[in-house]
């Protein structure tokens, strides 16, 4: 007969994933309750705007990311952090200040994400916050930017994309395309008209949608840090390329089909095509990078998922 005493470890020294999950769940629920009016406005904007409609898919993409990364997220839960409280207070202070005395809508909305980051850090620790960053980034990309800020941001890509599209389409045989202001005016033997007639921001649109696709496809799997870094570098070029393919496709469909100039088919085709192209470009580069993984890195990823993301 042997006496074996089970020692009760001091509560403060050992993180308890179940307790950590409860903390996170409660704080997340409080966060949702507090910012529900703002989140509702985001959803209404996404529902009513073509530019932001992709944000309606954000809850599903977020759940998918949570599910795919569940092992590493659960494994990351550790002690609470006072820094999380500081971050939460910072986010709330920013939210308050951007409401009064200053009135800056988009920075105020971004502070909502900062408070969420603070809650995660407070409840689950630094490692959990680190592995939650892709989800926070996806949420941030779903926040609509005000029309004025958006118009200012896209001045250069808008102009350059239209010029490049005009140049490319003008090379086609039997086609004459000129750029008058923001209008791509075309003349063919069959007809004349304007490509993407009446479309606002025709030269730069859905940029955040392309970036959101990139974030999702990169972080749906655990990848080495160097792969993430490479994808950060190529994200903007891929976004701009997908944007250009959108208007180019629109132009080609307008030139070579008998569709009415006001038809929505070219727009829908161009939108779906460019989103697919963005997905394909991100995926292709990831496949190439995956082929460059050293055997030791591959083993590391298979055996210890948390190590690959450091």
């Amino acid at each position: 007969m042997s006496n074996t005493t089970a020692t009760i470890p001091p509560a403060a020294s050992m993180p308890k994933p179940g307790v950590g999950l409860m903390r996170i769940g409660i704080l997340l629920a409080l966060w949702l309750w507090m910012f529900l009016p703002s989140l509702r406005i985001f959803a209404e904007t996404a529902y009513s705007s073509r530019e932001w409609s992709y944000a309606l898919a954000t809850p599903l993409l977020t759940l998918l990311l949570l599910y795919r990364r569940r092992a590493i997220l659960l494994d990351s839960i550790s002690h609470e952090s006072w820094w999380g409280l500081a971050l939460l207070l910072l986010g709330l202070a920013g939210y308050a200040m951007m409401t009064w005395p200053f009135s800056f809508g988009y920075p105020r909305d971004l502070c909502i994400i900062v408070t969420l980051a603070g809650a995660i850090l407070a409840a689950g620790g630094r490692k959990l916050l680190k592995h939650s960053l892709p989800i926070l980034l996806l949420l941030a990309l779903s926040i609509p930017i005000s029309a004025r800020i958006f118009s200012r941001l896209i001045i250069t890509p808008d102009t350059m994309t239209l010029r490049l599209t005009q140049f490319m389409l003008d090379q086609l045989p039997g086609v004459n395309v000129i750029l008058e202001g923001p209008d791509l005016r075309f003349t063919t033997s069959a007809r004349t008209g304007i490509i993407a007639m009446g479309e606002p921001h025709r030269g730069a649109s859905l940029l955040q949608a392309y970036l959101a696709i990139g974030v999702f496809i990169v972080f749906v799997r655990i990848r080495p840090a160097w792969q993430v870094l490479v994808m950060c570098i190529v994200a903007l070029p891929i976004t701009l390329l997908a944007n250009w393919l959108r208007i180019l496709t629109w132009g080609l469909m307008t030139l070579y089909t008998e569709l009415d100039l006001a038809s929505s088919i070219p727009r829908i085709t161009a939108t779906v095509g460019s989103l697919t192209a963005a997905y394909a470009m991100f995926a292709m580069i990831l496949v190439i990078l995956g082929g460059l993984l050293m055997e030791s890195e591959r083993e590391d990823i298979d055996e210890a998922p948390e190590a690959a993301d450091d």
Binding site: A6, I8, V19, W31, L85, L89, R148, S151, R152
Partner: protein
């Protein structure tokens, strides 16, 4: 004999771990902010809301004789789309001719709007506003204006400069904002100044100088005309029209 943990002991540890100081404070912050933040901010806004202040002299009475390089003309502005839903009745839209020795004059449009209520929306800026019609931006940058008459209080005044192209015309636009006695070139800077606590009253004004030029022509002279217009118009606006800075703080 193996001694197992009693459920109450384990539940007690879990309970104590859940109700840690960090968690309690974080949850408390959310609850307090959720109930109290909006009402407090609304009260603060009502309590410290800035008051409007009228312009001292209407913009329409601008003394054109104090712009030595320009002669007012009665020709309509060549650049279309200038007047939009500007949100104020205090507007100056005037066509001038740039005096250039013996050569033919070149048009410069001075477009000034004044907003007496600091709580009004800061209007669209040209690079956003004109792009809603048939206009494309070819160049967008900042430029520094030297205004000797205002140098003591404003040694350097920065403005935005842009080249805009419409189907049949191009123009160089230099614009900036006057806000509660300061000059800012960015709309967000204006909103920052308007929101800053301190002054009892506030105003803002957008001043644009638009110089049309022919398609294919070098824009540098058009840019210089717009810059010269602002350099001469700003002192007149400050000295004759905009409220005095001292009157913004008076009870």
């Amino acid at each position: 004999m193996t001694e197992s943990l009693s459920p109450s002991a384990d539940g007690g540890i879990r309970g104590r771990a859940l109700l840690s100081p960090v968690f309690l404070i974080a949850a408390g912050v959310f609850v307090v902010a959720g109930f109290g933040l909006e009402p407090v901010l609304q009260r603060l806004e009502a309590r410290y809301r800035k008051e409007p202040i009228a312009i001292r002299r209407p913009l329409a009475q601008l003394d054109a004789a104090r712009l030595p390089s320009f002669i007012p003309t009665h020709r309509p502005p060549k650049f279309s789309g200038v007047l939009r839903d500007v949100g104020t009745d205090e507007i100056l839209l005037k066509n001038f001719e740039f005096r250039q020795g013996q050569g033919p004059g070149r048009d410069v449009i001075l477009f000034v709007t004044y907003y007496a209520d600091p709580n009004d929306k800061v209007p669209h800026t040209p690079e956003v506003c004109y792009r809603q019609s048939d206009t494309i931006i070819e160049q967008f940058t900042t430029t520094t204006l030297e205004v000797p008459a205002l140098a003591s209080q404003h040694p350097q005044i920065q403005a935005h400069m842009l080249i805009m192209r419409q189907p049949k015309s191009t123009a160089a636009i230099v614009y900036l904002f006057a806000v509660s006695g300061e000059f800012k070139y960015d709309r967000e800077q204006v909103r920052w100044v308007l929101g800053r606590p301190g002054l009892k009253r506030g105003y803002f004004s957008k001043i644009e100088a638009i110089s049309p030029f022919a398609v294919g022509e070098d824009p540098s002279q058009a840019i210089e005309r717009s810059r010269r217009m602002l350099q001469e118009a700003l002192p007149v606006l400050v000295e004759d029209h905009y409220p005095l800075v001292t009157s913004l703080a008076q009870p």
